[in-house]
């Protein structure tokens, strides 16, 4: 069905892609943000310990005999012990002069009294964090500044960060998987609505043009509204054209009857052989037209009633007997005998007028196409399924046409000298469909045509 529709992309796939893509981006952002925050917190922790160590050393600074000395406690360094055995460096400066410690640790120039300054540098290929603090001591010869820098490598810090990163990565992955599952579910739920609508429209019979009444999501309301309006317009125009045909057929039939009676009357009076011949041709043509108009009317009636079946309990035997009786004058004209074969009482629930119409058309056909002095059989079988067959002894259906003859105005090719509109089989077929059955065309072993209605 979608083969002849111009398809571009899939809403479901697009929705899934957007949602999972969004989830992936969010997971990456989550990972980066939490990692940055964790790095900040971990760095804050190291800075706090470095500050405490630095302050405990700086507190011990005194001027003794004109010299600045620091008798810093053992704990200044022992508090810097880490699981990863991070290396520790320090330097004590008076101004820019190194008093003690490592000479590569140079204090920054913009030190403020009582405020720790932090920087990250590289020593021997290892990243180290340096905390520096400064104090002003008042000596006999004026103020003197002493600064203490404590530095520590960041092995323990990076170990912690790596562990945290692993956990956040797992968290992000979990978040992504969960979001993806939700995305797929959301996408299939949304497209499921469309799918249900499609199914309900597809499952309708070809005649069903009633509006869709099932509740639909608001986003689909415009589409369904348009569809409903379109179908109602289609229904209306179909009804109009059926009405028009029925009206037209009716209007043609009445004047034709008048013309026919006039033609017959004239025929009685005309003696000239050639004139009689053309009059007879005229009557035949009028019959043909009248019959076609009648079938058109029948067809319009069948189409209308098929949608509004008036079912009742029907005794098929009675119905067929009446029918055969009414058609026997026509049969006698061609010396054709109509035989009825019933294997038992046959009753069914159906529309009597429609069935009558269909069977009359079929018997009419059989009488028309059967050769003179042959028999037409009407056979009713009730087991396993109710079936009515009309069998003649004519030349049968052509094998290459047997499947197309049910269409409107389609006639067999070799039937040019026989009056017919091509609607008889169509009417019978539609009646069978309206009753939930079907019509099958076959040829008998002797070559005659056999039309079977399964009901």
């Amino acid at each position: 069905m979608t083969a002849d529709v111009n398809v571009s992309g899939s809403l479901r796939r697009r929705l899934t892609l957007i949602l999972t893509g969004g989830a992936a981006v969010l997971a990456v952002i989550l990972f980066l943000v939490v990692r940055v925050l964790a790095a900040q917190v971990a760095q804050q922790g190291q800075d706090n310990i470095l500050t405490a160590s630095m302050a405990s050393a700086l507190d011990t600074a005194v001027i003794r005999e004109g010299r600045i000395t620091l008798d810093f406690p053992y704990s200044s360094f022992s508090m810097l012990n880490t699981v990863a055995d991070d290396r520790v460096f320090y330097a004590i400066h008076e101004g820019a002069t190194l008093l003690s410690g490592y000479n590569w640790l140079v204090p920054p120039s913009d030190l403020v009294n009582g405020v720790a300054t932090f920087e990250t540098t590289i020593f021997n290929g290892d990243q180290v964090r340096v905390a520096t603090g400064m104090r002003v001591l008042t000596g006999a010869d004026g103020p003197r500044t002493v600064s203490v820098s404590i530095a520590q490598t960041q092995d323990a810090l990076s170990n912690t960060l790596n562990a945290i990163s692993r956990n956040i990565a797992l968290l992000g992955l979990g978040f992504f998987v969960l979001s993806s599952v939700l995305a797929i579910w959301a996408a299939s739920t949304t497209s499921g609505q469309m799918h249900r609508l499609t199914t309900s429209v597809t499952r309708r019979g070809p005649q069903d043009l009633s509006p869709v009444t099932k509740p639909v999501p608001s986003e689909m309301a415009p589409l369904v509204g348009s569809l409903n309006r379109f179908m109602s317009r289609l229904d209306q125009s179909l009804t109009q054209s059926e009405d028009f045909i029925a009206e037209a057929a009716h209007r043609i039939r009445t004047p034709l009857a008048t013309v026919r009676s006039h033609a017959e009357a004239t025929l009685q009076r005309v003696e000239h052989k050639e004139n009689r011949k053309s009059l007879q041709a005229m009557v035949r043509a009028i019959d043909e037209s009248s019959r076609a108009a009648g079938q058109l009317l029948d067809h319009a009636m069948v189409t209308f009633r098929a949608e509004n079946l008036e079912t009742s309990q029907i005794d098929l035997t009675d119905l067929l007997r009446d029918l055969v009786q009414s058609m026997s004058p026509m049969a006698e004209m061609k010396d054709i005998s109509i035989a009825m074969e019933l294997d038992g009482p046959a009753n069914l629930q159906g529309d009597a007028i429609l069935l009558q119409n269909a069977l009359r058309n079929l018997i009419d056909n059989a009488l028309k196409y059967a050769p003179v002095e042959t028999g037409v059989t009407v056979r009713v079988v009730t087991d396993p399924r109710l079936a009515i067959s009309i069998i003649d002894q004519g030349q049968g259906f052509a094998a290459d046409e047997i499947h197309t003859l049910r269409g409107r105005f389609i006639r067999g090719k070799d039937m040019d000298n026989t009056v017919g509109s091509g609607l008889g089989l169509t009417i019978a077929h539609e009646v069978a469909i309206a009753h939930g059955g079907e019509m099958i065309l076959t040829n008998t072993a002797e070559g005659g045509a056999c039309v079977t209605l399964y009901l």
């Binding site: 620091l70 008798d71 810093f72 053992y74 360094f77 022992s78 290396r87 520790v88």
Partner: protein, 335 residues
């Protein structure tokens, strides 16, 4: 001995020719340069360890160089590419070497966490500082069991102890300085003891060995902070010595080893470290004649000096100056 032991006094005139080694020996024969071990531990304790190592390594010779802990630290800092291995009892100097990046990381070592630092400095013995007495001279005196007893004893009998008490000269000995600073950190008794020893004219030594010799000869009747392992080894052969671990706490040192980060053959240096630690773990006195690592990180009763950066505290120039001045004030009595 299955391997020839060379007394390398006449050999190897190149590196450190002017250096005055306490001892210098080459183990094994090889056409490649020897593994050079710089150590403060007497050769007798290490000979069997080195021979065991050579047995597992074909075509390897080992040059074992012995000197004092301070000297050793300076030598190694001056030429870290001259030596493969540094073994010392001065934990503070060793830790500073590792901290300053002189040591190489040795991987695949199954060693307790508390006995290693930065995967590059490994402790392999536990050795308490002891009070060692000359048994004969102490025959009529009460045997002290703590530092407090010792102070009391010297106060009661100043004439008996005059000039016959020995301890480390912390200015010369790195191990002596480590013991002194750790004692001072732990208890105020240390300063009183030092003062009392100064009052009886304590004699100052560079090394445990000489103190033990003088104790055996009777020149000393008591020595404080002697390396217990050396004293114990002597006490087993001589009845003159009595080794006492102070009952309040014996300050316990761990001998440490590190591989030089600029060693000529880092693989060989690392495998020696692994070999030593493995022998320590097996603990067969035949192959490992040193006192084993006492296996617990419980430092309360034993008071083992912790391997952590705080060891660098007393190595600070200012702190050292202050400490030495205070120590001198206490022990070097002005007549």
């Amino acid at each position: 001995m299955r391997y020839l032991v060379f007394i390398a006094v006449l050999l190897l005139p190149f590196a450190g020719a002017a250096q005055d080694w306490e001892d210098r020996q080459v183990f094994g024969i090889s056409d490649t340069p020897p593994l050079r071990i710089l150590s403060s531990t007497d050769t007798s304790f290490f000979a069997s360890i080195i021979e065991d190592f050579i047995a597992t390594q074909p075509n390897t010779s080992v040059e074992y160089l012995v000197t004092g802990t301070v000297d050793l630290d300076q030598l190694f800092r001056a030429g870290p590419d001259q030596y493969d291995i540094v073994i010392s009892s001065a934990m503070d100097l060793q830790l500073k070497l590792a901290n300053d990046g002189f040591s190489a990381t040795v991987v695949n070592v199954d060693h307790p966490e508390w006995a290693q630092w930065h995967n590059s400095l490994f402790a392999f013995t536990s050795e308490p500082a002891a009070i060692v007495l000359n048994r004969q001279s102490f025959s009529d005196l009460r045997v002290p069991s703590s530092r407090q007893d010792l102070i009391q004893l010297m106060r009661d009998h100043p004439d008996r102890f005059q000039g016959r008490v020995g301890t480390y000269d912390v200015r010369q000995s790195g191990l002596g300085y480590l013991f002194a600073t750790q004692d001072a950190r732990a208890t105020e008794t240390y300063w009183r003891l030092t003062e009392v020893m100064g009052r009886v004219g304590a004699r100052l030594y560079c090394c445990s060995g000489q103190m033990i010799d003088d104790l055996q000869s009777g020149d000393l009747i008591m020595a404080y902070n002697v390396l217990g392992s050396y004293a114990q080894a002597q006490a087993e052969t001589s009845d003159d010595l009595m080794v006492i671990l102070p009952s309040e706490f014996p300050t316990t040192m761990m001998r440490t080893i590190l591989a030089s980060s600029s060693a000529p053959d880092p693989q060989r240096a690392a495998s020696f470290v692994r070999h030593l630690l493995n022998l320590q773990a097996i603990g067969d006195p035949q192959n490992f004649p040193l006192p084993p690592l006492v296996g617990s990180p419980d430092f309360q009763t034993q008071r083992t000096i912790n391997l952590d950066p705080a060891l660098m505290t007393y190595l600070d120039q200012m702190k050292r100056e202050a400490f030495v001045r205070e120590w001198e004030d206490a022990i070097v009595q002005v007549d």
